[in-house]
């Protein structure tokens, strides 16, 4: 883990322009964060239940009811 890579991430911003917590922002390998590593694994398998199950017909539910449009949601996880 590296601490304070403020200028690396927020190039051109003065550190007074953001809340103090951002001054201490840390940079970590994704694999070292259990939460993110888990999220990456889950992303690989996608959501289990992007479906509506109407009507419920046993195990056919998941096979026939996907309305997934492909825009996997990863809020605030990417630099835009």
């Amino acid at each position: 883990m590296e601490n304070k890579p403020f200028n690396d991430l927020f190039q051109g911003l003065d550190n007074g322009e953001l809340p103090l917590s951002y001054l201490f922002i840390a940079r970590l390998n994704r694999e070292s964060l259990p939460e993110l590593a888990k999220r990456d694994r889950q992303k690989a398998y996608a959501s289990r239940h992007n479906c509506s199950n109407l009507p419920i017909i046993g195990s056919d539910i998941l096979r026939n009811s996907v309305w997934w449009d492909g825009d996997f949601c990863e809020e605030q996880d990417e630099i835009s």
Partner: protein, 333 residues
């Protein structure tokens, strides 16, 4: 039928609850705010009589219970080469989306919500919730909004235990290549003062309460399912930065998670807070210091509960699914 308002993609709380709805063979429909905006999505919205249909289902008629995880649309940012115009367009599209999602949720206001959107939004403001928690008799760390180095110096002079700073709202993960950037709760002491800018964006400073252990309590309709987290020390140092964040301790072998019974008087105060917030569910964070005092930190209405559920055998996903089924079945009767 149970309506689940959630994310498009994987969401830990959603998936586990749906597993149990499937197990019980109870009908449900999962929808997202982003799906509402997609041109090809199968929503029909009649403003005249407030009728909402999704995939041919009349939600006003069929739905009795709603599991709310998230129902906010992300307006697209169209980079048209002029940032000012792009930002204005995004703001306006966001406004369009918000009015639309609000109309949908308002039209379903007579259903059982776990929890309601209004209560979730209110409780999501840490600052207001801290103030409210005090009125319920809960101990909360002294908290201030600071904007200058001199204010920080004054606070440090008043309290030699130091202060922590963390976002007022939230900081997610900024991803770049194989790295993730994020903020953790950071300790501020006299040693940090020199590096602080003279003036800065309004920032939350809280009295540093050293935890002997932390408690995450999941609240569901008056019941508490609490887990204590014990770590080896409470700080993680990187060079001259000292973090005080339990998230950095999760991977350590010495970290222990235990099912925990909060004292009844603390539960009573927390119940009072949840009632004032009109919240029927939420994940509550507390710190217990060396004198055994319980400090309330925050409540997250859409908190992540699958980890404590699994570690402490709470079966929260099952409890939530069965509550939704019960409320759905009894709705309007």
């Amino acid at each position: 039928m149970v309506l689940i308002l959630s994310y498009d993609g994987y969401e830990q709380g959603t998936e586990g609850v749906i597993d149990w709805l499937l197990y019980h063979g109870h009908p449900f429909v999962r929808a997202s705010a982003n799906a509402l905006l997609r041109p090809g999505s199968d929503w029909k919205i009649n403003i005249h009589d407030g009728r909402i249909e999704f995939k041919g289902v009349n939600l006003n008629k069929e739905v009795g219970a709603i599991f709310y995880r998230r129902f906010e649309a992300d307006a697209p940012y169209y980079d048209i080469g002029e940032p000012r115009v792009s930002r204005q367009l995004q703001r306006e599209l966001q406004g369009e989306a918000e009015r639309l999602t609000t109309f949908v949720s308002d039209s379903l206001a007579d259903k059982f919500w776990l929890p309601t959107i209004a209560a979730s939004n209110r409780a999501a403001n840490k600052l207001s919730t801290l103030t409210l928690a005090r009125t319920c008799g809960l101990a909360v760390p002294q908290s201030y909004i600071c904007r200058s180095r001199s204010e920080v110096v004054n606070l440090l002079d008043e309290n030699s235990n130091g202060w922590i700073t963390k976002p007022i709202n939230y900081c997610g993960y900024y991803s770049r290549e194989n790295f993730a950037y994020t903020t953790f709760t950071s300790r501020l002491g006299h040693e940090n003062v020199a590096e602080l800018p003279e003036r800065f964006h309004p920032s939350l400073l809280q009295e540093c309460v050293t935890p002997v252990y932390e408690v995450r309590a999941f609240y569901l309709m008056g019941e508490f399912f609490s887990e204590a987290t014990q770590t080896q020390g409470s700080t993680t140092s990187v060079n001259d930065t000292v973090f005080m964040d339990v998230k950095l301790k999760t991977a350590e072998a010495e970290t222990r998670y235990l099912p925990y019974q909060l004292p009844i008087e603390v539960e009573n105060k927390l119940t009072q807070l949840m009632q004032k917030l009109d919240l029927n569910t939420g994940s509550i964070d507390l710190i217990v210091n060396e004198t055994g005092e319980y400090y309330f930190l925050e409540v997250n209405p859409g908190g992540q509960f699958s980890a404590p559920s699994e570690r402490s055998n709470f079966h929260l996903e099952k409890r939530i699914a069965e509550l939704l089924i019960k409320k759905d079945t009894s709705h309007g009767k």
